[in-house]
């Protein structure tokens, strides 16, 4: 990103020159070691991706801890590729939606629906598609896996970016226009920086979800063909199949280390850096900190090396792709309305045609009565999701409030909660399965908690954030008037954290729906547990290669999630925005 580096670099490179110091300092050494290591690892991993598919058969995944770092690296690179793809998608699609009214009419509803579609359902089609695209190469399977992660990340990032672009402050927009910034300059000087904090936050949320899907998408079985890409997910699948308890434990350890490193080396620095794009004109109280970001800022040589990049960035910013923007004019209503109608008709027509095709496809092998099964199962899964979110809320709201009101504790617990949210819960599933099998408990009930195992933390850390942000004067007022116990919760704390809670619960419930596809069916060696639900329906259909049923299952789940969002979460969101904002 060109605009990022040329900020401090220009001046400090100048300053470094005048001081005439060329010797690297200690920070430089540390930073270089880090950079070099990352470069080597990336090259190694990328080279392996292009191996022929037959290589997979010749060199199957082996449960040898010595190979584990390599597998972890491959998994990480997949993550990384997906995040880059998501960013490119975000910049392109969200910008298009924000700039073109007609594109917006299609893109925004589409993103909204795509957000609700269970990602794991996609795998069936994408594996087939990408394998066909790159026949005989491992790359096809890699692409399918990366695409699965991409679909779990891209939509909310694009949404966030789009919303930022639409809310660019009017005065800054006017400055940019009155100075005649080109669209290119405007994007990098105004729009991208303004959108940065929201985008970084959403990317972080996306990454948390992404780990879950990377694990789920590496070992894929579609109608008899099984592809196992080298990675932590395949390792785990194999460990489960071979009932190797130690190997599962190794996977948990490796995952924890990888996520920890990713957080420390990538996200914390980015969050610390993105802090300067926050739009508030007042200096913030709590600045996010990161040792890597601090390191990068302190290195002298690094800055001198990036100075050419900064120079290049500065030059690129001078490029003009467009003529100067002109004055804003009220569009002549008549012609544009007619065009709008034509466009809408075209979109609706295409939509109807697509729906017709889908129904015709399903109609070939399924009858209307087949729709009842997924619907009934959907209701059961809905019951599970709501019940579990409720249980998780009852547990984590008091805990989160307790923690959030104690800044010292919150500072230590918050990173842990965020780490737990990122940790792919499916790595822990085997432990639960062993417990259920050995105690003979009912899978219909006891498999369910797995669905919120990974997602409940969203509730926790959002509640912590809400309680931390609760204004001191209101707390003092509450204690002056001796509001206690239930009154205190009802009148003071619950309204105070409500907007945060809704955000957390919304994320958690979306994640839980997705998780149901892997959580309602679990196995340990030959033991296979299955709960009655929509997730199990989709998983079974996928394994059997029964495409029509997969489509039907996904459609039903998307319908449930969309309705759930529209009927429950969105009104709550509106309520929170209207009534319970504390600023």
């Amino acid at each position: 990103m060109a605009f990022s580096t040329n900020r401090d670099a220009g001046r400090s490179a100048l300053a470094a020159l005048t001081r005439n110091r060329v010797l690297p300092n200690l920070y430089d050494l540390a930073a270089f070691a880090l950079l070099a290591a990352l470069a080597v690892l990336a090259l190694h991993g990328a080279a392996a991706m292009h191996a022929p598919l037959s290589g997979l058969a010749a060199e199957p995944v082996v449960l040898d801890p010595a190979l584990l770092p390599d597998y972890a690296l491959r998994t990480t690179i997949r993550m990384f590729a997906a995040i880059i793809a998501s960013l490119v998608f975000t910049f392109a699609i969200a910008t298009l939606a924000a700039k073109s009214r007609r594109a917006e009419m299609v893109i925004i509803p589409a993103l909204d629906i795509l957000q609700s579609v269970p990602v794991l359902g996609f795998l069936t089609f994408t594996v087939t598609f990408f394998m066909g695209l790159f026949p005989g190469s491992q790359f096809g399977a890699e692409c399918a896996s990366i695409f699965a992660i991409f679909t779990s990340q891209a939509w909310n990032m694009a949404f966030s970016f789009y919303q930022s672009l639409r809310t660019v402050p009017r005065d800054l927009d006017e400055v940019s226009r009155s100075f005649g910034l080109s669209s290119w300059q405007r994007f990098w000087r105004l729009e991208a920086p303004f959108a940065m904090p929201g985008l970084v936050w959403n990317t972080m949320m996306s990454m948390s979800g992404g780990w879950f899907f990377v694990v789920a998408s590496e070992a894929i079985t579609v109608g008899g063909t099984t592809v196992q890409l080298p990675g932590l997910g395949s390792w785990l699948a194999l460990a489960i199949k071979e009932q190797d308890f130690a190997a599962v434990a190794w996977a948990v350890l490796a995952m924890a280390i990888v996520i920890g490193l990713y957080d420390q080396l990538l996200f914390r620095p980015i969050v610390a850096w993105a802090d300067k794009f926050r739009f508030e004109q007042t200096a913030g109280q709590q600045k996010p900190r990161s040792w890597v970001h601090g390191l990068a800022r302190r290195t002298r040589l690094l800055k001198r090396l990036t100075a050419p990049l900064a120079w290049l960035g500065g030059r690129l910013l001078l490029v003009r792709f467009h003529s100067a923007p002109s004055a804003r004019r009220e569009v002549s209503a008549g012609t544009s309305k007619a065009l709008d109608r034509a466009w809408l008709a075209l979109v609706l027509g295409l939509g109807l045609w697509a729906m017709w095709t889908a129904v015709a496809y399903l109609g070939k092998s399924l009858s209307w009565s087949d729709a009842w099964d997924p619907l009934a199962r959907g209701l059961v899964t809905l019951l599970r999701v709501t019940g579990l979110i409720a249980v998780a809320s009852v547990i984590w709201i008091p805990v989160g409030v307790w923690i959030g009101l104690r800044p010292a504790v919150a500072e230590r617990v918050q990173p842990i909660a965020q780490f737990l949210a990122a940790f792919p819960a499916n790595v822990l599933f085997p432990f639960a399965v062993i417990a259920i099998v050995s105690t003979g408990a009912s899978p219909d009930i006891w498999l369910s908690p797995l669905m919120v195992l990974g997602t409940q933390w969203y509730i926790l850390f959002n509640v912590i954030a809400g309680a931390s942000a609760f204004p001191t004067d209101l707390r003092e007022a509450a204690s002056v008037y001796q509001l206690r116990s239930w009154t205190w919760w009802r009148r003071v704390m619950l309204p105070g954290i409500f907007p945060y809670y809704v955000t957390g619960a919304l994320t958690a419930s979306g994640g839980s729906w997705n998780a149901s596809i892997v959580a309602e069916i679990a196995s340990w060696g030959d033991t296979r547990l299955e709960a009655y639900g929509l997730g199990a329906y989709i998983a079974n259909a996928t394994e059997a290669g029964d495409f029509p049923r997969v489509v039907l299952g996904i459609a039903v789940m998307s319908l449930f999630v969309t309705l759930f969002n529209r009927l429950l979460w969105r009104p709550l969101y509106v309520l929170a925005e209207r009534r319970m904002r504390l600023d």
């Binding site: 006017e174 300059q185 000087r189």
Partner: protein, 443 residues
Amino acid sequence: MTEIVVTRDFKADKAPPLVSASQVCQSYDKGTAGSLVVLDKVDVDLHSGEIVGLLGRSGSGKSTLLRAIAGLIQPSGGSVTFEGRVVTGPTSGVAVVFQSFALFPWLTVLENVELGLEAQGVAPAERRKRALAAIDLIGLDGFESAYPKELSGGMRQRVGLARALVVHPKVLLMDEPFSALDVLTAETLRTDLLDLWCEGRMPIEAILMVTHNIEEAVLMCDRILIFGSNPGRVIAELRVELPQPRNRLDPAFRALVEDIYARMTAKAGAPARDGFFPGTGIAMALPRVSTNLMAGLIETIAAEPYRGEADLPPLAAELHLEIDDLFPVAETLQLLRFADLEGGDIRLTAAGLRFADSDVDGRKRLFAQQLATYVPLAAHVRRVLDERSSHKAPARRFRDELEDHMSEDYAATTLKAVTNWARYGEYFAYDEDADLFTLDNPS
């Protein structure tokens, strides 16, 4: 430090104007109810060597005119020319300073100042040289690497000024540049700017500034155009011949301020007493004025030293109210017949004096009475509530009714204003959750 070469010519008005706006109209489509006219055939010329002030209340279209001159918006009628060429978009000869400073929080002071040059494709070395010169000129040395959020309001506006000057514009447009600053800071900045202007150290030929502060206009401008509202138009043009630096206590200065107050409170030929607000009957667009402010103003005018009649300029000074704050209150009092506005004076009516003497309940009763008699919309809502057996009516209904006559924003503001007045007078009640008007006040 680099000197900026100045080429300003003080030719007489006979020379062709630098900027000329002629017959500029701006209206917004309101759908079925026609259009809302913000500017109505406004003519403004800006000559080399002068500072011109556009003085008026908010909503008088003066900022819209400034944006049309800057090329930020295309007026719906009339034309703007700059150096004889028609303005169709932002031009490099015109720079704008904003009320909100409009600094990029992610860019340092230096980078903010360089922005306009970057847009012009100026090479980095040259950019830095010119930016440093501008920073030096405007008194920002030492702050080059600071981010805007680290600066005080006054320093931020200095950055805004430096950023505008660095592109060497011929015309500087300023949109209420000092109104977001505290009194002292604003005064310092005005003086500094005037000094730079009078000494000819800024590379600009003319300044056009928008303000709602009468004293500021008299202090800084060579020519003042007074704007009237509904629709926005020039109602008077004054030439300020006082030499710089001007003294606020100078009797000639005071007389000029007084004169402008009188012109701005003159009833512009409208015989109706409600002439200040656009629209008639229930379709009158009303400002949101708090009942506390109204009561406070009545009390102040009733008490010593005014004893029922006050001159607006000293009153505004004493209460630290700018005309944008004071006028809506005064005019609402006039609408409710608590006071009379005439020739820059405000005089309490019998009802106003009675209000000042009453206790809380008496005031509320009196207020409700005036509301019922003189605010048709309030009376209308009350009538509908009385007619219905449930004594409830959805607010949506009245909002729709208002939107037939005015824009959505105006309708919302008007209804909110009336709701709050009615709540104070316990004339009717409003339940926000249900968006319902009712007759029962919770007791």
